[in-house]
């Protein structure tokens, strides 16, 4: 139980550092999505399945989609 929390927390730190340090913005967005996904595991380990479901749907799903669409639109505007 405690080991699981440490594993998930360590992976979250790695994903967060990667999101800040990545060269391309796309990699940062994907790392943010991975961060949300790992925090879902952390919430499950902390016996909070409600929050885990919400985080999986909002954090890993919709927020990633909104960021990716924003990125796509920014690139589309830059090319024209």
């Amino acid at each position: 139980m405690s080991a699981l929390i440490w594993i998930a927390g360590g992976m979250m730190v790695v994903a967060a550092v990667f999101a800040v340090e990545a060269k391309r913005i796309l990699d940062s967005v994907i790392a943010m999505s991975a961060l949300s996904l790992i925090s879902v595991f952390l919430f499950i380990a902390m016996r909070a399945p409600d929050v885990a479901i919400t985080e999986a749907a909002v954090g890993a799903g919709l927020v990633t989609a909104v960021l990716l669409v924003t990125l796509f639109r920014m690139k589309g505007g830059g090319d024209e």
């Binding site: 699981l4 998930a8 380990a45 399945p49 479901i53 749907a57 919709l62 924003t70 639109r73």
Partner: protein, 255 residues
């Protein structure tokens, strides 16, 4: 090599999910009487024995003295739902209002006439699997908010899952445009229905958003009074609202 790496990472994540799910207690095996709110009501987490208290050995201050009637929480199997829709229902109304305001803001800023295209044909696998997965995702979203008082979940996660289904439709079909009129009218009617439930509680119980229906048996679908009804309205409202947001970020002005 890269694909192998991706498959390994995905397999690792799926394995992790199963390992973490194993730490949860099974449904129905949780001791319903051992609840946080008894400690909360007693203002004491150390000396109060919750089991004895529920069996009738009331320690000061007693349950009846505090809120005068049987526990709100006794009838909904999912205690978080009890907190969100019974104790803090007014907060939830505020949250729904905040979500509504942000959806209106996105509609004002990003609204447009034309559907934005991604400029490429959607992948064959994406197109075919959307047809298979879409009904299952929508059904899962509806399950989450209908069973909000029994299992983890509730109105907000259920609505978000439905919005994710709409997002999948947008990704897999370049020509798909959601019917905004339906989503807007559903959103408005469900939001007012929540307030009407609150006013009905005010009329019958003397407090806004009072739980005025009979509580029923723990674990059955029609239990916990007004909670499933409120969660259904919240789920439909959040689902239509976030679907509208997903539709609006895919719109662009002409040119």
């Amino acid at each position: 090599m890269r694909r192998l790496y991706a498959i390994l990472v995905a397999a690792g994540l799926i394995y992790m999910l199963f390992v973490f799910l194993g730490t949860l207690p099974l449904y129905g095996k949780v001791d319903l009487s051992n609840r946080v709110s008894a400690h909360f009501l007693a203002k004491d987490v150390n000396s109060v024995d919750v089991k004895k208290w529920v069996e009738g050995d009331k320690q000061v201050p007693s349950r009846e003295k505090i809120y005068g009637r049987k526990g709100f929480e006794d009838e909904s199997a999912n205690v978080v739902t009890s907190i969100v829709v019974n104790y803090r229902s007014f907060d939830t109304l505020g949250e729904v209002t905040v979500l509504f305001a942000s959806a209106v803001g996105i509609g004002l800023v990003l609204g447009g006439m034309k559907r934005m295209g991604y400029g490429r044909k959607p992948n064959f696998i994406l197109r075919v699997s959307t047809g298979i997965l879409l009904p299952l995702i929508i059904m899962f979203g509806i399950y989450i908010f209908v069973h909000g008082h029994l299992t983890p979940g509730g109105g907000f996660p259920g609505g978000t899952v439905i919005a994710a289904a709409v997002l999948l439709l947008y990704l897999s079909n370049e020509e798909f445009v959601a019917n905004m009129k339906t989503s807007k009218s559903l959103e408005g009617s469900m939001g007012s229905l929540y307030v009407i439930f609150g006013l009905a509680g005010l009329a019958t119980g003397g407090a806004f958003l009072f739980n005025f229906l009979p509580n029923g048996v723990v674990g059955s679908l029609f239990s916990a009074g007004v909670v499933p009804l409120v969660y259904m309205t919240i789920g439909l409202k959040v689902g239509s609202e976030l679907s509208g947001v997903v539709a609006e970020i895919h719109e662009e002005r002409e040119g």
